[in-house]
Structures are given as structure tokens and as C-alpha cells.
């Protein structure tokens, strides 16, 4: 899921930096305006959790390996904008110190794993979990499904970014310059393993953690829109 350098062209890399830099800025502003000082250690904890969970490689169908990301879990707990910052930092450390994912490709990797995944998962969670007076079971199922959807959408974007390379950049005779595989190869190669097993792992991590934390540590759900606090306050104002 981490695109290494050399698989996408410098143009593609620049394009995704151009998309991601404003998103990082918005994330920074959101942290400044909505998180309390005491919430920062929790954000750090989740960023480190995401870094670590990505080290647990699991064999996927087709002879490849994959791992959970924790992007949706982070978004459900602290909100998608702070999650964007946390997951980006985990990806940045992986790229800069461990050579996992490219430095040039960091904009693209952040777009897939720190933006698409947390935001898609978060939106689905909000819609499917419903109001603040939901049952515990519904919360867990909604969280698991959100994790499944989030990681698969990220995998879809990785496949698209890699798969368009041969048609974007090739020599006159058609020899590819970067990722040599087109969409017909990248789409099934990324999606089949994630739809079948990778998504289940993410669902297990997200559903399990949200289920446990909502029962024993509900104070960790600092995203107001998830706890329903915002709505309660609005109702109190009326």
C-alpha cells in the first residue's frame, strides 16, 4: 500500500504533493482550532499505533502481503482532520527513516492512506452508526464496515495511481518508464487481496478497538460529532 519512489512519475508525485499540502494545512488549522492541549498526547498515541500496526504484515491471497493502517480508527476517535495529520506523520517517518514508501511519493501515499481512508471511513461511520443513542452492537458493526470500506478505497486509489503510469509515461515504442503495469493488472492486484482479507483485518482492528474503547474508555472519543456532544450542546442552546 506504500507506493515506493520510482513507481509513479515525478509529475504524478508533484501533483499529489500539490493536492496534499493544502490538506495538511487544513488539518493543522483544525488541530489548532478544535483540539484541546490535553488531546495532543492521544493524537500522538494514535499516530504511533498506526506506525506500528503497519509493521504487522499478513499474507494475502495471490502471494502478496498487506497490513492494517488504523486510519479509520483514528478518524472515528479524534475526527478525520486530526487523523490526516497523525497518519501522514506515521507515513513520513516510514518513508524518511525506514525506506517504506517513497519520499517523492509521500504526497500520493498521504492522499491515499491519510486522506481518502480516514475521511471515507469516517463519513461511512457517521452515516451508518446513526445518532448518539445507538446500541453498542451497531457502533461496532458500523466501525468494522468503515474500516473495510476505508482500506479498500485506499487500495483502489493506489491501483489507479500505479495503473495509469504506463499510459501517461512511456517511450515511443510503448515501453513503460515507471510502474510497468496498467489498470488491468493493478486493479485486481490491489483490490482482490484487500476486498477478501486485507479489509477484514482492518475491519477487525477498527471494530475491535472502537467496541472496546466505547465501552471502557468513552472519553477517548473526542470527535464531538461522534459522541453527539455537539448536537446536545446545540439542543441545549435552543
Amino acid at each position: 500500500m506504500h507506493i515506493p519512489d520510482g513507481y509513479i512519475s515525478p509529475h504524478t508525485s508533484a501533483f499529489f504533493y500539490a493536492v496534499s499540502i493544502p490538506l495538511w494545512w487544513l488539518s493543522f488549522r483544525k488541530i489548532r482550532n478544535t483540539l484541546k492541549k490535553s488531546h495532543i498526547p492521544q493524537l500522538a498515541l494514535l499516530a504511533a499505533f498506526s506506525f506500528l500496526i503497519m509493521m504487522f504484515n499478513i499474507p494475502l491471497p495471490g502471494g502478496t502481503t498487506g497490513h492494517a493502517v488504523g486510519g479509520v480508527l483514528t478518524a472515528v476517535l479524534v475526527g478525520p482532520w486530526p487523523a490526516l495529520c497523525a497518519i501522514t506523520l506515521a507515513l513520513a517517518v516510514q518513508a524518511l527513516f525506514f525506506g517504506d514508501g517513497g519520499v517523492l511519493a509521500l504526497g500520493a501515499n498521504a492522499f491515499n492512506l491519510a486522506f481518502i481512508m480516514p475521511f471515507a471511513g469516517y463519513l461511512f461511520f457517521r452515516v451508518s452508526a446513526g445518532s448518539s443513542r445507538r446500541s453498542h452492537r451497531r457502533t461496532v458493526i458500523a466501525a468494522a464496515l468503515s474500516g473495510y470500506i476505508g482500506i479498500n478505497l485506499a487500495a483502489l486509489f493506489v491501483a489507479l495511481e500505479l495503473g495509469i503510469q504506463p499510459s501517461l509515461h512511456h517511450l515511443a515504442d510503448g515501453t513503460p518508464l515507471y510502474c510497468p503495469f496498467g489498470l488491468r493488472v493493478t486493479l485486481p492486484a490491489m483490490l482482490i487481496p484487500h476486498l477478501s482479507v486485507g479489509g477484514l483485518i482492518e475491519a477487525l482492528v477498527t471494530g475491535g478497538a472502537v467496541g472496546f474503547l466505547s465501552r471502557y474508555h468513552p472519553e477517548l472519543f473526542i470527535d464531538r460529532s461522534v459522541t453527539g456532544e455537539e448536537r446536545d450542546r446545540r439542543e441545549a442552546d435552543i
Binding site: P4, I40, Q42, L45, G99, T175, M190
Partner: protein, 106 residues
Amino acid sequence: MRYRKGWVVLVVMAILSPLGLLAIGSAWGEWGLDDIKEMIGFEPGGMREIKEKQPDTVLPDYEIPGFAESGWKVGLSTILSALIGAGLTAGLTIAIGRFARYGRLS
């Protein structure tokens, strides 16, 4: 220390991180140049150019250079990498979070 249990969970995860190495095979689309050449018969020109210019990272593949290639020392170097990486990630997040909170100009 706030979130003590959370930090304990992270240390346990770091200690278990060598388990993540047991999975056979590699992630799709994250191969080196040699693997690509083996798969398709040539090295894509642009990819080679970028990879050749790329500086080496400090701890490639979550291993500490100089540690043995096999045996328990690999596991230890993975655990150390996990601790270093998780620590760096958490530290960076706290730094940026603090900057966001205190760096307010108005």
C-alpha cells in the same frame, strides 16, 4: 503519565512486531529494481533513474544495519526499529500539536 495503558499497548505491539516479518512474500508493487527486472525482463528507465538517485535510508526494511542477517538478532533489530519509529512518530505529532496550539499568532 496520561494514557499510560495506551503507551503500554504500543510497547507490547513493538515487542510483537517481529511477527510481522513471518508473512511470506512481499507487498504488491513494492519490489526493488532486481525483482521488477525478473518479472518483466527489463528495468523501466524512469524508475531506474529515480531509484539510483535515491539516498539510502537510515534503517532500511526496519532493520538496524550491522545486526545479524538471521536468528534472534533480526527480531531484536525489528523491535528496536519499531520502538524508534513509533517514538519518532509520537514525538513529531506532539511537536506539531504543540506548535499548532502555542504557535497561534493572535
